[in-house]
């Protein structure tokens, strides 16, 4: 159908979706930008007050710090472990079983995963029998049990570990597909020439997998910036674990402050733009 289809026909196909996008994305996004310059009830113009709050209040600074921790350790962890498992699983006998187990958390909700890990982290005072596996391991090894979700900054890393448990499988699956697509002759030739595993990895594997790596890294970075469920369920941002998206939720419902919540959303959006740009450019190149 190279010829032009005139009249209303194309609109019948594309129209409903475009209408949805206008109502649920375009118009609300513009209004949120507008609200971010207004007061808590969106009645009076307050200039940059909400943004001043976002960038100077101690709760928001804690949230930014934690998101930065997530940004570094979650991204490095998921992509690094995903890559490691993708390559190692390729060399074991029960590859698909091993990959299924690691990939499984992707299927369940973050709330479910949150409960799974809250139980793993369960704490009983020293002396009484532990019911959380991690503290039991500590006790068996002769250490004191820890309040994993209570002590800052340990709790942030405990939460990040839950994120790793959920998302590593995603990285592994995508990277595994890319790894298997590398021509085997390339690696064999290098090995025949005397290259070590590390050299093959550095000079062949990584460059060949660059598109897939860009994809998973950018996807993980966006996930981190929007991270919400894990924190909401496990600590609700208490004990120094607040993150941007959870704070926005609180401003919206707990404090009913439309202006501040909107400003947080806009800042989140601005941080996501460059990452999504790289992500989509990669997708368009491959697609």
């Amino acid at each position: 159908m190279k010829r032009k289809i005139g009249g209303v026909t194309p609109l019948v196909y594309v129209g409903p979706a475009v209408l949805f996008l206008l109502v649920y994305q375009v118009y609300p996004a513009l209004q949120t930008i507008y609200f971010s310059f207004m007061d808590r009830r969106s009645q009076a113009f307050v200039g940059l007050d909400n943004y001043r709050y976002v960038f100077t209040s101690s709760v928001m600074l804690t949230a930014f710090r934690n998101n930065l921790l997530w940004l570094i350790f979650f991204t490095a962890g998921t992509v690094g472990l995903g890559l490691l498992f993708a390559i190692l699983a390729d060399r074991v006998k029960h590859e698909s079983l091993a990959k299924s187990v690691i990939f499984m958390p992707m299927a369940i909700s973050f709330v479910g995963a949150g409960v799974v890990w809250k139980f793993m982290y369960a704490y009983k005072p020293p002396g009484s029998e532990q019911i959380g596996l991690l503290n039991q391991i500590l006790v068996v090894l002769g250490f004191e049990p820890k309040g994993w979700l209570l002590q800052s900054p340990l709790n942030n890393f405990a939460l990040i570990a839950v994120g790793l448990w959920i998302w590593t499988g995603y990285c592994m699956v995508i990277l595994s597909a890319a790894y298997k697509a590398i021509p085997k002759e390339l690696m064999e030739a290098a090995q025949v020439d005397g290259a070590t595993d590390l050299q093959v990895f550095r000079h062949i594997t990584i460059p060949e997998m660059r598109p897939a790596l860009t994809m998973v890294i950018t996807t993980m970075l966006v996930n981190v910036l929007k991270i919400f469920d894990i924190i909401y369920v496990m600590t609700n941002g208490n004990f120094g674990t607040e993150v941007i998206a959870n704070r926005m939720f609180k401003e919206m419902f707990q404090f009913a402050n439309t202006g501040r919540a909107s400003a947080i959303a806009v800042v989140l959006f601005l941080m996501i733009i460059p990452i999504m740009y790289a992500n989509i450019r990669q997708k368009l190149r491959e697609g």
Binding site: M1, I5, A17, V116, F119, V173, F269, G287
Partner: protein
């Protein structure tokens, strides 16, 4: 020479060990949850779940009371029904509208095509946080908050950009000549859509349906925002997260509730893993 050899090749034992440890790390937390959900309250509170592993076949140490409790008084049965209703509408509507739009954008040639496609790609960048406040205001005005219809429409609005993007990539790969030939034979646009485009894209549609199904089933944030506190319409994720607050340390109940929320995704995952993986890869890998 031997040392040289060791440096070059990672021994198989090490590889097997690393993969085994990873598999255990990913499997044990879920196993602990599952076992705990079948143990009596008195056992759960005082001994670790791993203690049953010494005699796992002693069936008197298991009970289904926890499940009976959370399904009736815990409200998980209602939540289960709600999750189904929300997820079915939240999957069927966006997938249907996305196939129409993706077909229109890739196979019908009209003036504003590039503009609309650009708009959809642009919307991939907008985080849902940017839309919460204005859409909620709109919903409160139209009495759509706290309703299934409201949630279906909002999941449609949020799911469309990715769905259209993915299907568009797939439809692009279908040869234009096929559609031109059908057109010359007198087939209407609708006929080519229903008889040609849809049957040819069953694998892509299956991936998208599974992806969207799991995304909606596992969603917590959207439900929290638009359902308010109405427990009568709350899905499993929302119910479970409020149980985390009210049951606190009642791990026998929390684990049972968590497992109920995970059953459907796990079945979908293990029976349709291939399609799920494709869906996650999105438009990046051709069906």
């Amino acid at each position: 020479m031997n040392g040289q050899r060791l440096k070059r090749k990672l021994p198989q034992v090490v590889i097997n060990l690393v993969v085994l440890i990873a598999v255990l790390l990913w499997f044990l937390p879920t196993l602990g949850l599952l076992i705990t959900s079948f143990r009596p309250a008195s056992d759960v509170a005082y001994t670790g779940w791993w203690t049953v592993l010494t005699s796992p076949l002693k069936f008197t140490q298991y009970t289904i009371e926890n499940y009976q409790a959370v399904l009736s008084t815990g409200g998980m049965l209602t939540a289960f029904r709600n999750s189904f209703l929300i997820t079915i509408g939240g999957t069927v509507i966006p997938v249907f509208l996305a196939s129409l739009a993706a077909f229109g954008l890739s196979k019908l040639h009209f003036g504003a095509r590039g503009f609309f496609y650009g708009l959809i790609v642009l919307m991939l960048v907008v985080p849902s946080q940017m839309t919460f406040i204005p859409v909620l205001k709109l919903y409160n005005m139209l009495s759509l908050s706290g309703t299934f219809v409201g949630l279906w429409l909002v999941h449609t609005g949020y799911g469309l950009p990715f769905s259209i993007f993915m299907l568009h990539t797939f439809f692009q790969s279908l040869p234009d000549e096929l559609f031109e030939a059908a057109h010359i034979d007198g087939a209407s646009v609708w006929t080519t859509f229903v008889r040609l485009a849809i049957p040819l894209s069953v694998p892509a549609l299956a991936s998208l349906v599974i992806f969207q199904f799991l995304a909606v089933w596992n969603d917590l944030l959207v439900a929290l925002i638009y359902l308010g506190g109405h427990q009568s319409v709350a899905p499993l994720t929302m119910r479970l997260s409020s149980l985390v607050g009210s049951f606190g340390q009642d791990w026998h109940l929390l684990t049972a509730a968590a497992f109920i929320s995970m059953v459907v995704p796990l079945i979908v995952f293990f029976s349709l893993q291939k399609y799920f993986v494709r869906g996650l890869m999105g438009g990046a890998v051709k069906g």
